[in-house]
Symmetry: C2
Subunit: 299 residues, 2 copies
């Protein structure tokens, strides 16, 4: 069977459980970042690699600095999803030797600008040769306090589900210049008991079922409450993907306080209660059509 | 100018110094691993990414488990070069959706076996789609004690230069099944004051000048002392590359003790004093012809 027929997610759930772990590992594959213990440090070490590929995540026409920005910001968005703080990044670029140096310089300019935005130090870079599309992997290390990191799997029954910002239409421009919700995530876990969180990279239609499944729950969504971006349909808001907004679960007891505090702290960023987590039943799992899946649908 | 015309090393020295660092960074690009401080931990955090590309580091005919083994062992060899201990790995695989799942499973089997050999936990995996050659980036995090990590730049004038194992001919087979010198490196820094160390991935002809330059010195090599692998010429020992042996610098005062202890501890592994570090002069820098350089010469 080819990889495309299987799809990335199934593939990784087949392969990864058989890989070696050890006692220092708290969370491995299956969440936004890996979470591990490091040499007696009070805080936990978070690790994440993410790659972008020309023809999939950006095109030949994408300005190189914008592609670099995106390559850095995608793993940083995974840090936001866990309320982590990114600190160090390593860059691996697989690229044809025929490409112009100027392209790579411009690409690094974008990486650089994105890293600086969040005080991330780029501590290593490597290039490899390819005959195919340019591919860039960015590996990020950082931290989260033991009581402050948030996984996907902590959702509780009847939790309210919140989404930051607006959904849909990111592919037109926003996917190249988004700012991951790191500050918002850190604020959330400073003042609220966030039960579960994920970033919306593949679209609400894929990422909400993931969060619910990880929490062993199902969900109901109030379609009228979806924060649809101007000019988009509900369908686009659900399945376009690349929103890089936060989706999180919170006890309904905390809802009023959250909504009031959020408005004061982030007056220009929408926060929408889009539904809630409910007891697991198979029918609910199909409420939302899925977002795109790697290997099955290209951009 | 194209990337091939420039060459990887020059390229990175042009781009990387302009990237953001911060006070937590002790060593960044330019050594085998990055070395950083992490959240008050007594030990230092070491980070390294390395990638292998089909058609460059392995071929379509390479058994998938052997390619996976190599992909993992390359960055672990960089840990050996700094006397670090690898602990966690993230895998990024950029691969065509047309590839068979069985290939990827077998590749992961090799990654897995290599990781287990050194108690490294694979904590994350990601795949991306490409129309070109398969490329795999392995990012490793681990530690070294503040007094025990070794960089390239600590060589002192008149230091003896030692090489472990034998050099040359690795491309025939050894490049696919080598075992990085992690145990040997840790033993060396436990009992000896190693001034500078590097792993021989690009060949002695490239890596020795790197160590010498980083230490702001030059070198002399006694060609008769080179540990040439059976069936190889001196030229091959110097420039084949992919030996993944250690090259290190040590005070001549410690030589006799090292040679005696090594023989007892590692009776089956050769240890050769191949030359010494000397005052920097331009003429010495050309004693050894260079190994291969990415973009300029393909394998």
């Amino acid at each position: 069977m080819t990889l495309r027929q299987i799809g990335e997610e199934k593939l990784l759930t087949r392969i990864l459980p058989h890989l070696p772990a050890n006692r220092r590992v708290i969370v491995r594959a299956g969440d936004d970042c890996a979470v591990v213990r490091f040499r007696g440090a009070g805080d936990l070490l978070l690790l994440k690699s993410d790659c972008v590929v020309e023809g999939v995540h950006f095109t030949r026409k994408t300005p190189a600095p914008a592609a670099g920005w995106k390559a850095m910001m995608r793993p940083l968005s995974d840090f936001a999803a866990m309320s982590g703080v990114p600190e160090f990044a390593l860059i691996t670029i697989v690229i044809s030797g025929d490409k112009q140096e100027s392209w790579l310089r411009q690409f690094y300019r974008g990486l650089n600008r994105a890293a600086k935005r969040f005080n991330v130090a780029i501590v290593g870079g490597e290039t490899g040769d390819t005959n195919g599309s340019t591919a860039v992997s960015v590996s990020v290390a950082g931290y989260a306090e033991p009581r402050r990191w948030v996984g996907r799997n902590g959702g509780k029954m009847n939790d309210d589900l919140f989404v930051t910002g607006e959904l849909g239409g990111a592919i037109r421009l926003r996917h190249l210049n988004f700012v991951p919700r790191l500050a918002e995530a850190r604020w959330l876990t400073r003042f609220f008991d966030i039960h579960a969180m994920i970033d919306l990279s593949d679209g609400l239609g894929s990422d909400l079922p993931r969060l619910a499944r990880a929490s062993n729950l199902s969900f109901v969504v109030n379609e009228k409450a979806l924060p649809i971006a101007p000019g988009c349909s509900a369908q686009q808001a659900i399945s376009d993907g690349e929103d890089y907004e936060l989706l999180f679960a919170l006890s309904p007891r905390d809802r009023a306080k959250l909504e009031a505090s959020w408005k004061r702290k982030f007056p220009t960023i929408r926060l929408s209660c889009i539904g809630r987590l409910v007891r697991r039943t198979t029918s609910h799992d199909r409420t939302i059509p899925p977002g795109y899946v790697h290997f099955q649908q290209r951009r």
